[in-house]
């Protein structure tokens, strides 16, 4: 059944939108990523104008993250203190990102910047994660139990403003989660993502958080950052389609619940390899699209 979306100003099939929400919600619950890095390109692909896809997706991620975080909360997998520090950086970063988005749009290069950011970040994150998970899987097989060393000491541990994060069993500088939060906030606004695909690896490899609390804590931060993006995009650009978001999130919240349940069945390394493969697949597709000769080198720009 077709439904007319008031802000996107197009008609789309209801079942298609519900199905899309469900599938990506499942992956979001499974991996602890917002799912935006899959959903935003998918929405653009089915004909939603890119600015509306970005604004609406932020709104939908709020919902799927809430439902995801509650599931993790009950298992005690949320480091609230770490979440708040990440959040502080995230709020500043996402506000800056919405402004940057508007500037790039007026110059006519927003599409290119979005795609290049996807290729760059997905490429780096995908490769690092894939290699790391393979290595730790092999190590686990070899020794049979645990890691050799808790973590390596690097420049990261010399930074000031150290704080103790008891849930994560960490004693690190608050500047680190602040910086990670800021970067993820900018990406959330510009790329129409929750930023989980950057934050999850950053938490594991840069902050050194245990995998078990990473998913819940990133979802916790994503709720507030995407809420901020939703508000700013709705306020400044009127690009949040509530009807579209509702349809997507009906599918997504159900999918996210199933995904969170399924994630218990999989080991951390397996989860990471799966996520890495998916990230690399999306990256390859986007890179290919940038290099392949377009059907028509002329295209309509953003409507004014």
């Amino acid at each position: 059944m077709q439904i007319y979306l008031p802000i996107a100003e197009i008609s789309l099939d209801t079942l298609l939108l519900l199905g899309l929400g469900g599938l990506i919600g499942f992956l979001s619950g499974l991996f602890g990523v917002g799912g935006g890095f899959l959903m935003t390109p998918a929405l653009i692909f089915i004909g939603v104008p890119p600015p509306v896809a970005v604004g609406t997706e932020a709104n939908q991620i709020v919902a799927s993250s809430v439902s995801g975080v509650l599931a993790h909360w009950r298992r005690g997998n949320v480091d609230v203190k770490m979440g708040f520090i990440l959040l502080l950086g995230g709020l500043v970063g996402s506000s800056f990102g919405v402004w940057l988005f508007a500037v790039l749009r007026s110059v006519g290069q927003i599409d290119l910047v979005i795609k290049l950011s996807y290729v760059t970040f997905l490429g780096i994150v995908g490769v690092v994660m894939f290699v790391e998970s393979l290595r730790s899987l092999r190590r686990r097989r070899a020794t049979g139990s645990g890691r050799g060393k808790l973590h390596k000491h690097t420049w990261v541990h010399g930074l000031p403003f150290k704080m103790r994060f008891r849930r994560s069993k960490l004693y690190i500088s608050a500047l680190l989660p602040l910086g990670v939060g800021f970067l993820v906030g900018v990406l959330a606004a510009v790329m129409g993502v929750g930023g989980g695909f950057i934050m999850v690896p950053a938490m594991i490899y840069l902050l050194g958080m245990p995998t078990s609390v990473v998913v819940g804590t990133s979802l916790f931060q994503i709720i507030f950052v995407t809420a901020n993006v939703t508000f700013l995009q709705a306020y400044a650009n009127q690009t949040v389609d509530v009807v579209l978001a509702l349809l997507l999130l009906i599918g997504a919240v159900i999918g996210a619940q199933l995904g969170a349940k399924a994630s218990v069945l999989l080991r951390g390394e397996q989860l990471r390899i799966l996520l890495a493969v998916m990230v690399l697949a999306v990256c390859a597709k986007l890179a290919y699209d940038l290099t392949v000769t377009p059907d028509d080198i002329y295209a309509l720009g953003v409507a004014k």
Partner: protein, 256 residues
């Protein structure tokens, strides 16, 4: 599936001035040798909207050819041209057309070039290839301007806003005619002008302009208006709805 179309109070466009949906005679005429009207003067975009057809019908006093042109509200269009830079395709050129019909289609009773001379056809902009789409002066040499123009038309056709072919005006006997105007699901909203021409021996004998409104109606219109007039409120509500939905889903799953 097409939903019920409720012609209602809240048309999202500020077009109260077009309250008179009657026929407006244009052109220096004797008695009206041509009358035409639409099956509806309002295309209401509602929840189930998936495109619609509007019937245009009319009568002529004397034999001739009938040409119907549908004009969407004019808009400014920015176009980009890509070229390959270091292996990837990037927008490297840009052109702004200041006044472009957002929607355009033509229907005629015979093929256009049999009806009138090229001169008449281009003056009346009959046929998509004869649209007058001026580019800013001194911005492009004639053949480059031609490329931009063709690209604009091609892109509009791909979008479904310009018809690929000239539609059929069908005569029922000597005097009565009708044609079907198709509007796709992504039809631009606004005030449309429908021009009906009666031509004989390559000359326009009579012409008439009829307005048509394409607008959002009901819930769609209200959501759209709210989003634009109370943007901050709309943003907060969007967030609240999302928070509620996420929580509801969690509660629903915990019970099971």
């Amino acid at each position: 599936m097409r939903g019920p179309e409720r012609p209602g109070k809240a048309i999202s466009l500020g077009v109260g001035a077009l309250a008179v949906f009657g026929l407006v005679i244009a052109g220096p005429l004797r008695a009206a040798p041509l009358v035409a009207d639409l099956s509806k003067h309002l295309v209401a975009i509602t929840t189930g909207f998936a495109g619609t057809d509007v019937l245009l019908f009319g009568a002529v006093d004397e034999p001739g050819d009938v040409v119907v042109i549908i004009w969407g509200p004019p808009e400014e269009v920015v176009m980009h041209r890509k070229s390959r830079v270091a292996g990837i395709w990037i927008n490297t050129a840009q052109m702004t057309f200041e006044r472009v019909p957002s929607f355009y289609s033509v229907a005629s009773s015979r093929s256009l070039d049999e009806i009138a001379s090229e001169h008449v056809l281009s003056r009346l902009e009959m046929g998509v290839e004869r649209l007058n789409l001026p580019l800013p002066h001194a911005k492009a040499s004639p053949n480059i301007a031609r490329n931009w123009r063709d690209a604009l038309i091609r892109n509009k056709q791909r979008l479904g806003h310009y018809a690929h072919e000239v539609g059929q005006v069908i005569f029922l006997g000597e005097n009565l005619f009708r044609t079907q105007v198709e509007f796709p699901a992504n039809v631009p909203t606004g005030a449309y002008q429908i021009e009906v021409y009666l031509l004989r021996d390559g000359r326009v004998i009579s012409a008439q302009t009829t307005p048509l409104i394409v607008g959002k109606i009901g819930l769609e219109a209200e959501v759209y208006d709210f989003a634009h007039n109370y943007a901050a409120f709309y943003g907060l509500i969007a967030i609240l709805v999302a928070l509620m939905a996420g929580w509801l889903a969690h509660v629903a799953f915990r019970r099971h």
